[in-house]
């Protein structure tokens, strides 16, 4: 008996609207983030992740207002990511009501930023997001590399080594997204999820590729994830959070009902 495994609906938000893409492209509108967050809160989600995918800086204030509005209605932990580059960005998000921030490209460009952020705000509120793709050929030992810019730019960084380094720098959690699987509904990349879960002591959140409830179970039991993140299966009403929770508990996973 220990911590419950978490189900985390994820809101990808562009200029104040929840959207969902396939492999980071081909965006579909899924609705108002505050209403959607409230629904997931009522359904018993364990946490909500809000990823701001707005490209322009002008829309950043919209994001702050949306986070404030969600925090006024949702009484579960809220993680906010997207465009977090400075300590001031973090402070503003925490003041707006976020409990944690997710740092992605800023960590790649300046790894020490994670150290500074964890030193100032504590590891418990610093999540490092890793977007990776498998780069090993068939028959080779599996290897995954970090990509930035929506999957267009390879960085040469090995995903497993990077995760270990980020935890050493103070990351309290790793949000791991397989860009190969994202939006494909074929399940998580269990190989990289397992490799990183085995390599670090902090919680790993598996993300990218959930198409059915068995995929959530596999993420925990086969991938070793502490939390599973999904978007479209919940947004488009294919499954509800309680259905997912009951399914996972039936599979023997400790779940908060």
């Amino acid at each position: 008996m220990s911590l419950a495994k978490r189900i985390i609906p994820c809101l990808d938000v562009d200029r104040g609207r929840v959207v969902k893409g396939v492999q980071f492209l081909d965006i579909r509108d899924a609705g108002d983030p505050v209403e959607i967050a409230k629904t997931y809160n009522q359904q018993g989600a364990d946490e909500i992740t809000f990823l701001d995918i707005t490209a322009s800086h002008e829309a950043r204030d919209t994001t702050l207002h949306t986070v404030e509005a969600i925090a006024a209605e949702v009484f579960i932990p809220l993680t906010v990511g997207g465009g977090i580059r400075t300590l001031e960005d973090i402070r503003r998000m925490l003041n707006a009501g976020a409990d944690k921030v997710s740092i992605n490209s800023a960590a790649v460009f300046k790894p020490e930023f994670v150290q500074e952020a964890a030193g100032k705000f504590g590891s418990q509120c610093i999540v490092v997001a890793i977007d990776c793709k498998q780069v090993s050929a068939a028959g080779e030992a599996a290897r995954w590399e970090i990509f930035t810019h929506g999957g267009r730019k390879p960085t040469g960084l090995d995903a497993v080594e990077w995760a270990v380094r980020m935890v050493n720098y103070g990351a309290g959690e790793i949000l791991l997204t397989s860009m190969d699987q994202d939006g494909m509904k074929q399940g998580f990349d269990l190989g990289v999820t397992r490799a990183i879960s085995d390599a670090v002591a902090v919680p790993v959140i598996a993300s990218g590729g959930v198409g059915n409830l068995q995929h959530l179970v596999d993420g925990v039991l086969l991938g070793g994830a502490d939390a599973v993140l999904a978007a479209s299966i919940f947004h488009f009403g294919e499954y509800s959070v309680p259905q997912a929770k009951h399914f996972m508990r039936s599979a023997g996973i400790e779940i908060r009902l």
Binding site: L3, A72, F75, N95, G97, G122, A201, V202
Partner: protein
């Protein structure tokens, strides 16, 4: 309806506690001013960050003796570091004095599990306590901490939680309560606990 004061010691974000009370349609006042806090019926002491920083915040402007005096006649709920501050001593970043209202000390969790302890964990509650009315034993609450309260006397332990080791997840001394978890982030049972505190006789 009780008038609730949320004590703002400048240690971390206190907005989420007020937002939770607002959602329960409970009015509250956030203040660092003891002349204001003195006029209210019940107090909530939230806190995020280290015990040392919180203890130092009590040393500003005679807050420690004023808060001690208020606790003689007003119920108080400490949350997270606010709960830890009720102890006699805290050992995070050196030994620092707490408010000493619940005899005990605060030290790093001696567990083999990873720290910080972040996430949903079960709370074994004393259901005879009005603070846990309508909250089933074993309910999940949201935690985020590395240090925990060790009570000197078992009668002050109100709830316990297991994370590789069993620790006090809620403490009590008469009408002074403390919870290590975050009720304002613990969904329906967290809101129920806040409501219970507000409705205490």
């Amino acid at each position: 309806m009780s008038r609730i004061g949320i004590i703002d010691l400048g240690i971390g974000n206190i907005n989420s506690v007020q937002k939770a009370l607002t959602a329960l349609r409970i009015d509250s006042i956030v203040s660092a001013d003891f002349s204001v806090l003195r006029t209210l019926d019940k107090l909530i002491l939230p806190g995020v960050g280290s015990f040392a920083a919180a203890s130092h915040a009590l040393d500003v402007d005679e807050r420690r003796p004023m808060l001690t005096e208020l606790m003689h006649d007003k119920p108080l709920l400490g949350i997270c570091v606010g709960m830890q501050l009720l102890a006699t001593t805290g050992l995070e970043h050196g030994a620092n004095p707490g408010l000493g209202v619940v005899p005990g000390s605060v030290d790093m969790l001696s567990t083999t599990q990873p720290l910080p302890h972040v996430g949903w964990n079960r709370v074994c509650v004393d259901q005879s306590s009005p603070l846990f009315a309508n909250i089933p034993d074993g309910s999940y609450f949201y935690f985020t901490h590395s240090y925990a309260f060790t009570v000197e006397q078992q009668q002050h332990r109100l709830a316990s939680t297991f994370y590789g080791v069993t620790f006090s997840s809620a403490v009590v001394n008469q009408r002074i309560y403390g919870v290590q978890f975050h009720p304002e982030k613990s969904q329906q049972f967290g809101l129920q606990l806040l409501r219970n505190f507000v409705e205490l006789g």
